[in-house]
Each structure stands twice: as C-alpha cells, then as structure tokens.
C-alpha cells in the first residue's frame, strides 16, 4: 500500500504531500488503531485467563497436567498453617493427612467449592452438548431439507423462513424461561438432563435450520436439474447431488451451534444444572430412564457459581480461573474448528 520510499523530487508521479493527505493518513492510522485495540483487548482477556488458569490445569512436574483438577469433583478447600507454613488441601486430601498425622484442630479457613476438580462439570457439559445437538441436528437438518428441497415456494414458506430467522435472534434467557416453564414445571421433568437437552436444542434450532438451509440453497440449481434430467428421483437427487456439497456448510453451522450450546449459561440455569452433585451421571441409577431425569453439573453454571459466590483471593483463584480456562479451551477448540473449516470450504467450492 505504501509507495516505495522515493523522494517526491525523483518521482514526479507520486502524490505531493498535502493537508488532505495528512488528514487521510491520520484517519487511516486511527482506524488501524481501533482495529488493533480490539485485538489487544481479546488478547488481554484470553491471556489473563490462560496464564492464571494454566496454573490450575498444568503442574511443573510429571505428568504436567493437574490430574486432580480434571478428574475430581469440587470439594471444600482447607487452608491452614502448620509451623508457619500455609497449606492448601482439598477435603479428601485433608482428611487423609488428618488421619495420618493425627491432627486435632479443624483448619482455620475453608472455602466451599474451591478445592478438588471439575470433572463432573466437564462430563455434564459434554452430555448436555451431545444430547442437545443430536435433537437439534435431527430436527434442524431434516427441516432444512424439507424447506429447501420439498417445500413449495410461496408466502407460507416465506413466512416460516422469516419467523425462523427472527427466532434465531431471541435471547437465550427467553428460551431458558420457556424451558423452565414447560419442561421443568409443566411437564414435571424437574431439573434434568432431558429438560436441558430440549431447551438447548430449541435454542439452536433456528440457527441450525437457517444455516443448513443456506448451505443447501447455495448448491447451484444446475446440479439438481442435471440429476433430475438423468432420471433420478427427488431423494436420489438430494442424496447424490445436493447433500454432499451442502454437508460441509451444514457441519460448520452445527459446530458453531455446538459452541453456542456449550457456552450458554442462562438456559440451563433452571433446567439442567446443579450446584453440586457427587455422582457422575451414570452412577446410582435405579432405572435406566432415571438417567434422563437427573440434573448434572455444567461448566458454565459452575463458573457462574464460583465467580459470584466465592470471594476473590489467592485460594479461590485456582478454581475460578481453572474452570474458566478449561471451559474456554473446550469452546474455543470447537469454534476454531468451525472457523477453519469455513475458510477451507469457502476457498474450495467456488462455483
């Protein structure tokens, strides 16, 4: 963009410096500053969380990953001083030492939820995402295929499309409200995995339908016509000439949907999430269907709890930033996959 740095005397075609040029340059630098300021902000947030979170997730010695943090349930953190040294131990460790050493006095300070790990929350989030996406993809992609391939063009279809597009912008808390009212209370499912699945699924449904439909419609009509002209039925045409080309687009949208499902707190607050649950979802079930009617711990809700209900200090920081870091990492991996996938697909299909 910048011309080679020849002086104006040598090259008469170079624009002469003027007040306008200087102003333009100033504005250009201003805009550049704005852009990079955004990037700096993101970096600041991500780095703060990554640096402080890494302290919780990684350890300086073998196996370099804090196994306890990733595989245990949250526990109370005990902070106490022995011989002038401050120790932090989570409850189970504390009890073991307690018995071993025959310590008598209870610790000075305890911080609920600040010790142990976040394994149940990770599992809960994964379960919620898997179930919700299954429902949403099943309904969403099939609906999109119908809307784009079978539906007759007309005012009704336009209306449906428009309303779906509009519903995509409805805030997640409204879906949470709906899920709470319908599933938790009206259908009496209680706070449960099932209620969470449906709430989250319905939340991303409009996004998935409209994105999948867009992907389907971006396949050129020529493909369809060629297939039909060769005598294939409508379904064969869809299966062989439309879906394969639309699939990458559908997948990208669905991965983005996953990131959204995993990241939302508001809808699961009253429909699926528990503050603390000892058992993992597959433990202690009386009947197989109980699996669906149990609440789970989830990363976003856990992060809300530890950031709103714990004090900010050196002892609780580990849990707070650790949860944020793991959560962010999981969501970021999903989002990055989708962004990279989209860039690749954009450059591949260019008809």
């Amino acid at each position: 963009m910048n011309p080679p740095s020849n002086s104006p005397e040598k090259n008469p075609f170079l624009p002469r410096p003027s007040a306008t040029r200087r102003a333009e340059k100033l504005v250009r630098w201003g805009l550049r500053g704005l852009t990079y300021f955004i990037l700096v902000c993101i970096c600041a947030i991500l780095l703060t969380i990554a640096v402080k979170g890494a302290r919780a997730v990684f350890v300086p010695h073998w196996p370099f990953i804090n196994v306890e943090f990733l595989t245990q349930a949250p526990e109370t953190l005990h902070v106490f001083e022995v011989n002038g040294q401050t120790y932090e131990l989570s409850d189970s460790q504390f009890r073991a030492t307690y018995e071993e050493q025959g310590l008598k006095s209870p610790p000075d300070r305890t911080y609920a939820h600040a010790g142990g790990g976040i394994f149940p929350a990770i599992i809960g989030t994964l379960l919620l995402v898997a179930g919700a996406m299954l429902i949403a993809m099943l309904l969403g992609v099939a609906s999109a295929i119908f809307l784009s391939e079978y539906g007759k063009r007309g005012p009704l279809l336009r209306l449906i499309r428009l309303s779906i597009l509009n519903l995509a912008g409805v805030p997640s808390i409204v879906y949470g409200l709906f899920g709470f009212g319908l599933f938790v209370i009206f259908l009496d499912w209680n706070i449960s995995l099932l209620a969470g699945w449906f709430t989250l699924a319905f939340m991303v449904l409009p996004v998935i339908i409209s994105a999948s439909e867009e992907a389907l419609r971006s396949v050129p009509t020529g493909f369809r016509e060629a297939s039909l002209a060769l005598g294939s039925t409508r379904w064969t045409m869809i299966r062989t000439s439309v879906l394969p080309y639309a699939l990458p687009g559908i997948l990208t949208s669905s991965i983005l949907g996953i990131a959204r499902v995993a990241g939302e707190t508001a809808p699961i607050m009253f429909t699926a999430a528990y503050l603390l649950r000892d058992q993992l979802p597959w433990e202690g079930l009386d009947h197989w269907y109980d699996f669906f009617f149990q609440g789970v711990m989830a990363l976003p809700y856990h992060l809300y709890v530890v950031s709103a209900k714990l004090p900010q200090n050196a002892y609780t920081e580990r849990m707070q930033y650790g949860t944020a870091f793991v959560f962010l990492a999981i969501v970021a991996v999903m989002a990055l996959t989708s962004i990279i996938l989209r860039i690749k697909i954009r450059s591949r299909h260019n008809w």
């Binding site: 550049r32 300021f37 990037l39 947030i45 609906s143 079978y150 039925t233 409508r234 969501v331």
Partner: protein, 522 residues
C-alpha cells in the same frame, strides 16, 4: 440402497420401489422431512404460545392482587408512605447541608475527629429532626399491619383457589372480612390527624433550633430547607384528607394493571407483603447498558470493518477477521467472570487515580456498574457489527470503486464518500443486530451490572453510566429460580420475557427490513 442396477437404462425404478401401506418411498421420505419441519415449526410456535400464555395471564392476576391490596386496606399504608417520603426529601436536604459542611472541612485538611467535633451540633440536629418522623413511620406500620392479615388471608385464598380448582369454592369459603378491616383502619384516622398536628408543632419548634453555621455559602440551602419544611407542615392536612377520601371499594381495571406494569417505577419483591412489578427500572437499565455498549462498539466495529475491508493488506485482513470472529465463541459467562474478577476492579482503581479526576463520575464508587457491563457487552457486540458491516462493504459492486477511482478520487475518498455511504444500510442493520445481541445478553449483566433495581438517575449527566443498574435479562436469571409455579412473581418474570422477546423480534425484523430495502447492485 439403490444398488448398481441403477445404471441399467431399462430400469424403471418407480415400479420397484417398495411400498409401505400403499405409500411409496419417495412420499415416505417427503413425509419424514416434512414431519420434521412441522415438528420444528410447531415447537417454535409452541415456545411463542407458551411464553405469551404465561406472560399475558400475569395481568389478570396482577389486577386481582392489586384489588386485594386495595380492598384489604393495605393501600392506605402506601398513602401514608407518600407523606413519609416527602419528609425524607426534607431529610435529604438536611443531609446535603451536612455533606457540604463535611466536604468543606475535609478540604481544609481537618481530621475525622475534628470534623466529628465541629459538626456535632449539626449531627444532633439531624437526629432531632429525623426522630420527628418516628410516629409517622409507626403509624404507617400500624396501618399496614392492620390490613396485612386480611390481605394475606385473601392472597392465600386466591392461591388455594389456583392450586386446586377441582375442589368446590365453598370448601374454603371462610368469608374475608374486608369491611371490618377497613372500619378498623378508618377508626385510626383521628390518630393521623393528631399525629400530623403534633408533627407540625414539633417541626416548627425544631426548626427554630437550627444550629448556627459558620459557612455563609450554606445559608441559601438552609433557607431553602426552612422554606420547604414550612411548606411541608402547611401541606400536612392534605395527606389526611386524601386518606379520608380514598375509596377502598373501587375496583381495579385491567388497564390499570397493565399501566402499573409497563410504566411502574418500582420493582419490589416483598416476600412479607405486597410486591410491585414495574418494568421501567429494568427497561431503562437494559437500554442504558445497551446504549453504552453500542456507543462503544459502533466506532470499533465499523472502523475495524472499514479498515479490514478497504485498507488492510490481504494477509492482514486474513488475520484480523478470524480473530474478531473468535470473540463470538467466548462464552458470555467467561466474559462476565473476567468483568467481576479483573475488569471491574481495574476500572475503579483507574478511576481513583488523581489525574483522571476531571472525568465526570470519577472516582467511581461502585465496582459493578452499567459502564463495566457495557464495556464487556461492547466487546461481545463488536464481532456481530464487524462481520456484517464487512459483508456489506464487500458487497458494494466493483464498478462503483472503479468509476470513482477513474474520476480521480483517492482511495480514501472513494472509501469514505462512495463505498461506506453505499453500504450504509447494511451497516445500520449490522448495528441493529448488535443491539439485539446485547439486549438479550444475560450473564454479563447479571454478574457485572450491579443489580440495583432503580431507574438510573439521568440528572447526573455523563456520570450516569457509572451507576449500578438491573436489566430485564438479569432479573429473570436472578429471580426465576425462586418462584412458585403459577404465582404472580412467576408470571411477572414471564411477562418480562415476553417484552424481551417482542423487543428483540422488533429489532431483528427492522434489521432485515433495512437490509432488504436497499440492496445495491444485485
């Protein structure tokens, strides 16, 4: 499924299609997809329907509650409260005088002990004056308590009625004695008159004892206080008259319930008594936070879009775009956590530095306020605004650019005078969608906005953003977990949900309309 024979030219597949109940596979498949689409549409319709059903049934229930409130005589207490509030305003004036006095002494470098000693007469006067209101407060409480039992009974009956509609009404038909309560309350009116007379004479006595103030600049305030206090005493009979004229039998219309919800200035959940559900503090809170977020996000989002699309090199743009798009993926609760753990404290500490004193509202008192939340929400709105504006800019036909350059305009002039104006409708719709995203955001405002349910005091001008606010999304998240199903509070929250729903729908719809309306070159 179809097998390799599909290549045979003589294969007439339609005949070989398996039929289930006389329906061929093609129709079955179509029915399957159609069925799914119908389910999806029904589900989405159901959401809307359910939301509106729960939300709109708030109004009849609220109307009923307001009527019970009035009939049971609870409203009398709120009338007395008006008098008390007026008194508190006087108290506020007094506090203001003392505040200035303290500030003055502080600037003179006096220590706290010295200030306490020097302002002791004023302090004593304040206690004397505030004690004047004690009989008034006690009367207010007494009236409320007289009515509260009846009100509670009536509420319980209504509740019972709602829970088991199967039972006949006469099962819990102990008649609620509204009239008795009202008579009891009316019997206390002479008390109020006596009390007001006493208050008047006492206040005139106390006013005379106003301690001498050295600072002449406070004299106008003292004068104003005296004048208002005397005006207050003169107006006292008015309160008694209002009380006497009040008709507790008057029924409450649905419109009134609607009005108190939409334009009510108070959202008070009182588990021990009557709750007020007024949308205005939440709505203004939401709008204030959104306003701050958009004012901040607009230059950044659009500026970055212009820069990336028009000025950046290819590689640079390829780096910036995914980076900004990545913000969408950061979960809101993580941003909220960052706000509460780092950003809120940072902003306040920054505001405490002496050389920033000139800024309005600095130093900030509250760590969690609308500005903190607004900044973080701005960050979340940027990717929406950026991506869509960038799209709009790149949709401007090449011909426009080329013609402009051919006429001798510089690149910069082309960008600013041709491309941006052409893309402006796209940018506007991007900003609208950004607003839609921000207004519906929950976790950040719940964690960082400060949760004060009060209409922000806009008289503070540019310092207004530094007040804590509560938002519509925040109130739903904060109070939904506690409510009893079908109760009035539950319905009120659904009603807020409906408002939120309609608001975002409107914004999205407007964005699409604008977007469609002025598409160029396609």
């Amino acid at each position: 499924m179809d097998g390799p024979t599909a290549q045979s030219p003589l294969n007439l597949r339609r005949q070989r299609d398996p039929r289930v109940f006389g329906v061929d596979r093609q129709s079955l498949l179509k029915a399957f997809f159609g069925g799914n689409a119908i389910v999806a549409v029904i589900v989405l319709l159901l959401i809307t329907f359910f939301l509106f059903r729960e939300g709109l049934s708030f109004f009849p229930q609220y109307r009923e509650d307001m009527e019970l409130y009035r009939r049971s005589g609870m409203e009398y207490a709120s009338l007395v409260k008006q008098e008390h509030d007026r008194f508190n305003e006087l108290l506020g004036q007094l506090v203001d005088i003392r505040k200035r006095q303290i500030r003055q002494l502080e600037s003179e470098g006096k220590t706290r002990e010295e200030i306490a000693a020097l302002t002791a007469p004023m302090q004593a006067y304040f206690y004397d004056f505030s004690d004047l209101a004690i009989p008034l407060r006690d009367y207010q409480i007494a009236v409320r308590d007289l009515a509260a039992e009846t009100y509670k009974q009536a509420r319980m009956d209504a509740e019972q009625h709602r829970i088991d509609t199967t039972h006949t009404a006469d099962q819990h038909a102990h008649v609620i004695d509204y009239d008795g309560t009202i008579t009891q309350i009316k019997a206390t009116f002479p008390q109020l008159t006596a009390l007001n007379n006493q208050l008047e004479s006492d206040m005139l006595v106390v006013l005379r004892k106003f301690p001498p103030l050295e600072d002449p600049s406070l004299q106008p305030l003292v004068k104003a206080f005296r004048k208002d206090a005397i005006a207050f005493t003169a107006g006292l009979p008015h309160y008694g008259a209002t009380l006497a004229e009040w008709e507790p039998e008057r029924s409450v219309g649905l419109w009134e319930a609607l009005k108190t919800f939409l334009f009510g200035e108070q959202w008070i959940v009182n588990n021990n008594g009557h709750s007020l559900f007024g949308l205005l503090p939440l709505l203004t809170g939401s709008l204030l936070v959104t306003g701050i977020a958009i004012v901040l996000a607009l230059p950044f989002g659009v500026g970055a879009a212009i820069y990336t699309n028009q000025m950046a090199r290819r590689g640079e743009a390829g780096f910036i775009k995914p980076c900004i798009e990545f913000i969408t993926a950061i979960p809101s609760v993580v941003i909220g956590f960052f706000g509460i753990a780092v950003f809120g404290t940072l902003v306040r500490e920054l505001s405490g530095t002496p050389w920033l004193d000139w800024l309005p509202g600095f130093p900030i008192a509250e760590r969690l306020n609308a500005f903190t939340a607004g900044c973080l929400l701005a960050l979340m709105a940027i990717p929406t605004i950026f991506t869509l504006s960038e799209d709009a800019l790149s949709r401007v036909p090449r011909v426009y650019t080329e013609s402009s350059l051919a006429l001798g305009a510089t690149r910069f002039q082309t960008t600013m005078r041709i491309i941006v104006p052409t893309a402006v409708s796209g940018i506007v719709s991007a900003v609208l969608l950004g607003i839609g995203r921000v207004i519906g955001e929950t976790m950040v405002v719940l964690l960082c906005a400060g949760n004060r349910i009060r209409i922000p005091d806009f008289s503070e001008g540019l310092a207004t953003p530094f007040q804590p606010v509560h938002t519509m999304t925040g109130i739903i998240a904060q109070e939904m977990g506690e409510v009893a199903q079908g109760g009035i509070h539950y319905r009120a929250l659904f009603c807020v949900g409906v408002v939120l729903f309609l608001l975002t729908l409107l914004i999205n719809f407007a964005a699409q309309k604008i977007f469609r309306h002025t598409r160029v070159g396609e």
